[in-house]
Symmetry: C2
Subunit: 308 residues, 2 copies
Amino acid sequence: MAKKFIIGIDLGGTNLKIALLDLKYKIRDKEVLSTRRLGNKKGLTTAIVSAINSIIENNKLSKSNILGVGMGLPGPIDAERGIVHFFPNIPGFREVNLKNILEKKLRMRVFLDNDAKLMALAEHRLGSARSFKNVLCLTLGTGVGGGLIIGGRLYRGFNNASAEVGHIPLNEKGPACNCGGSACLEAYIGNNRITKYARRLFKRGISLEELSAKAKNNDTLALRIWHRIGEQLGIALAGVVNLLNLDAIVIGGGVANAGPVLFDKVSQALKERAMSVQSKHVKVLQAALGSNAGLIGAAIAVRERMRP
Amino acid sequence: MAKKFIIGIDLGGTNLKIALLDLKYKIRDKEVLSTRRLGNKKGLTTAIVSAINSIIENNKLSKSNILGVGMGLPGPIDAERGIVHFFPNIPGFREVNLKNILEKKLRMRVFLDNDAKLMALAEHRLGSARSFKNVLCLTLGTGVGGGLIIGGRLYRGFNNASAEVGHIPLNEKGPACNCGGSACLEAYIGNNRITKYARRLFKRGISLEELSAKAKNNDTLALRIWHRIGEQLGIALAGVVNLLNLDAIVIGGGVANAGPVLFDKVSQALKERAMSVQSKHVKVLQAALGSNAGLIGAAIAVRERMRP
């Protein structure tokens, strides 16, 4: 029998990543394209198909070596039927059966899911969440997304729209959010808010990387910003912990690179605001798989969903 | 074979209810005692044992007719081992293995659980939550408790302390809560807060029953109070709905008797604050089993846990 591989795809607002993974979820080859340059639905699907074909060819494989294609996508997805409801940051996809489109063009099995859910799946099967049964995996970036593992399985909810942690209200009243609500956690701790907050304090534009570096050097203003972000995140998570009595919370995404300055404050706020019977058991951990979590999760999804 | 029955017990801060139920969970006999008059651990366990014995005798049954005893208790419980961690409102129970104590005295099987979890179980098996897979059942009273059904099963979390909906922070800062945290939902919509709020507006003491009656007669002040409570509950539930993408929310307990004036506002706040993909699917329903939900849930727990 031919040796089997999986194609993993991670579509983000900035990058489209396409990788070849082996059955141990090791990345054997990877291509990164600019999402914005590919533009609309046609441009993106064409690029995906040709990148898959070339990655197979470059590795001297044929389609019979590919178990299937897994895709992590930045928006609400009907994972069962393979429908993209829409992407908040990529135009042209409204109620699109991307699974059907790609399966026809590729003549391979294709599986779609929300990117944060696949990240959670990857962290649970291979990363920081591995030994836990009930876990929230968070990604902190422009958006604040998440995936919930309940009883060791990905929890989807009614229509696969669970774990929208970024849209938990942090206050009764507060800033308007892109989702249509207001005072959502994301409006307080999303990348845009952090850089705006930093610009106000530093009186100049400053990147998250610089802000993290400054905090590591004990810069007072940078520490103040990360402490505030950590506290706000911790308060929202106190509600999640009191509701779900979780074993662990795994935090990833660019903002998580701030490290202990952020994590310590999250743990402190959890301790102060969650009930002791819940807060004393919950572990707060940094994600282990970094920016490859989405690709790995996409490959895991293919493997797990193709099992009889 | 002798006809089988179940003993259901519901211990609250005010009343201790003991009932005989048949295998269809119909209440055949019921006794209600005052919790406060029984006082401490010894008084309570003695009263429970003698009430059980007399209910069996009065119904011309013997212990061989009793499948088991189920108990709903007002605090955190280790349901597997039968340990009461403590009761916030009843003194004398700290890390007490009440299951062992009662099984020795009764020579019957005894099962313990948290009262709100048993209410959720009852509403899911026989009440308003019956046809739903992922449901939050809420009890609104002095405390704001809850039980979560996930995938059709009671979700317990790490140490059976899930669904503490009353302790979701509603704001970053706010009034101190009994749990040690602050700005918890319970501090805004618990009975005590509602009556305090009503006293301020009406400039006299006023019961929840009167407040509900006044609202039904379109009293402006009463409407203002219920709308505010409904809005605050709805904002907290928006976070729960965005996190869990629930099928339904079932609301019971004394405060829920306010009816549409409360429920409509909860639904409105959910619509305004939760994301549309989640909020358009979630049903908000009044609990169906009333004040017997705890007894019925206790009986269901006995039956389901004695199945092989």
